[in-house]
């Protein structure tokens, strides 16, 4: 099946680890919401219309995508088994909303998994562009190019005053949501994050915990994104987010230094305990794994832990999730069994990989 390649326990290239500030800014995502002019939006359309929208958009992408060198794989959501949909959600390739499969819809994925186009999510079209590290402009360019190509062949719902028309009034205008995933252990440990979050939201941006849906700042991973889509151009939105993210990165660096200076032994103890937990446990809950991964990640950044590849940690952040574990084990697992499988996965990956020191060629 075409979908299989995307389900394998293999990291997408946007989970690799490259570029400046990648120790703190883990990945970048741009999402553009678009709708077609001649159809009702997904909250109102009929199943018949949903099917037509899906066919129209998929046909253009499968045919014209090649102009931009994309060979998209088309995955029909309703024909995809639930567990496989969940794996796509855990890999951030589709949204939980699309995974519900309320009406005909699909996702079109590029081979490197950096582009994911959802059809009939909350809007007819959701273009998602993912990049490893902190690359707002690059991620936007990819989405923008594809958007411009699609627009040549499809008539978008657009309004001179309101811009791109979307189902939700919070997306109207540019339809763009840009976000950066940040690992902020020192700001969290020092509770400074609680002062930073409200300040950011006053500037039209928002920070939230981000590690799968509905969970809090598990593993000290936060997502910062723009909240406004009207009034500012894409350029301005990206510029503001860029500046804000750079400031947060600086704050995190300062906090790390302060903790390292004030309580080096406590920090070192915590980091090595977490390393021990990840490499030797027999039962690992999601929360414990996330916390320990965060500590070990920090340990690598601070050069306390050497000979461990950060990209393996990125990979494990994705694969430790419930659907992936079940896919990996090839059977449904009860919660306790998942904790066991998770611990085994960590032992296998970390102990073997750190011995081999294979670098980043898992991508």
């Amino acid at each position: 099946m075409a979908i299989d390649r995307f389900l394998r326990p293999k990291a997408s290239s946007w989970m690799a680890n490259d570029g400046e500030n990648v120790d703190i800014a883990m990945s970048t995502r741009i999402r553009l919401a678009r709708n077609l002019n001649d159809f009702q939006f997904p909250y109102a359309f009929s199943e018949d219309e949903a099917l037509k929208v899906d066919k129209a958009i998929s046909a253009v992408l499968l045919d014209k995508g090649r102009e931009l060198d994309y060979n998209f794989t088309h995955i029909d959501i309703q024909e995809t088994p639930t567990l496989e949909r969940e794996v796509l959600v855990e890999k951030h390739l589709i949204s939980p909303y699309l995974a519900k499969g309320q009406h005909s819809g699909s996702v079109l994925l590029s081979n490197n998994e950096e582009l994911s186009i959802m059809v009939n999510e909350e809007d007819h079209l959701r273009i998602q562009s993912l990049q490893s590290g902190f690359h707002l402009q690059e991620a936007y360019q990819v989405a923008h190019q594809l958007d411009s190509l699609l627009e040549k062949h499809l008539s978008y719902a657009f309004h001179e005053k309101f811009g791109y028309l979307t189902s939700c009034p919070t997306n109207t205008g540019t339809g763009m949501r840009a976000s950066v995933m940040l690992h902020l252990p020192a700001l969290t440990m020092s509770h400074q994050i609680n002062r930073i979050i409200p300040a950011i939201s006053r500037l039209g941006m928002v920070v939230r915990g981000s590690y799968g849906e509905g969970s809090e700042a598990l593993g000290n991973v936060y997502q910062i994104s723009n909240q406004l889509t009207l009034g500012k151009s894409e350029y301005e939105i990206l510029q503001d987010l860029q500046n804000m993210t750079e400031q947060i990165i600086q704050q995190e660096r300062r906090a790390r230094e302060a903790i390292l200076n004030n309580s080096p032994v406590v920090l070192e103890d915590r980091i090595y305990r977490s390393l021990g937990t990840l490499t030797h446990s027999r039962l690992l809950t999601t929360e414990e794994a996330a916390t320990c991964l965060s500590d070990v990640r920090l340990g690598i950044d601070l050069k306390m832990i050497k000979d461990m590849d950060m990209s393996i940690l990125n990979e494990l952040m994705i694969f430790m999730q419930p659907a992936f574990l079940q896919q990996y084990s090839n059977k449904p697992l009860q919660p306790k069994e998942r904790d066991f499988a998770r611990a085994r996965l960590f032992r296998e990956r970390l102990n073997r990989e750190s011995l081999n020191d294979e670098g980043e060629d898992f991508v």
Binding site: G163, C168, P169, N194, Y235, E287, D339
Partner: protein, 177 residues
Amino acid sequence: MICDQCGERPASVIVKQTQQGQLTERHLCHICAAGNQSINIAFEQDPMAIHQLLSNWFPAQQKTINPVRKEVAVCPTCGFTFTKFLELGKFGCASCYDTFEPHLVEIFKRLHNGNIEHNGKIPASYGNTLKIKKDIEELRKQMKTSVEGEDFEKAAKLRDEIRVLNTQLEGGVSNGD
């Protein structure tokens, strides 16, 4: 019942919290409940539960208890009423924007920090003139930023781009630049 937080272990504790006058109830397992004290409740939910915000802003529209009140606007294309839009927090189609336009300024102002007009990308197919005008506006802004950042080389490049666009506009006036 499965734990609301980890979605894995069975829930054994009910945690009740009052936040901004709203009581929320969460079913947690013993492990998540124990770790819960340190969790920042600001992350509890999507801060933009849009339909809740809208309903709070337009309480009069929401009174379904009063059957006498007439629906103000019904979208001719999808049949959404303004009340339905508020309840869902979503539009049914592109025409909804025209139908509900009188109310939208108020809504967008609140959702987008006082902004009510699109200022970004325009589909190429959507009238070339408008696109050029907006492009010029955008380049001007970038030029201003470049000047402020004392990147005069880039500013000069942008200025030239603006000139080219201006000549493309029929009867192009350079608006005093």
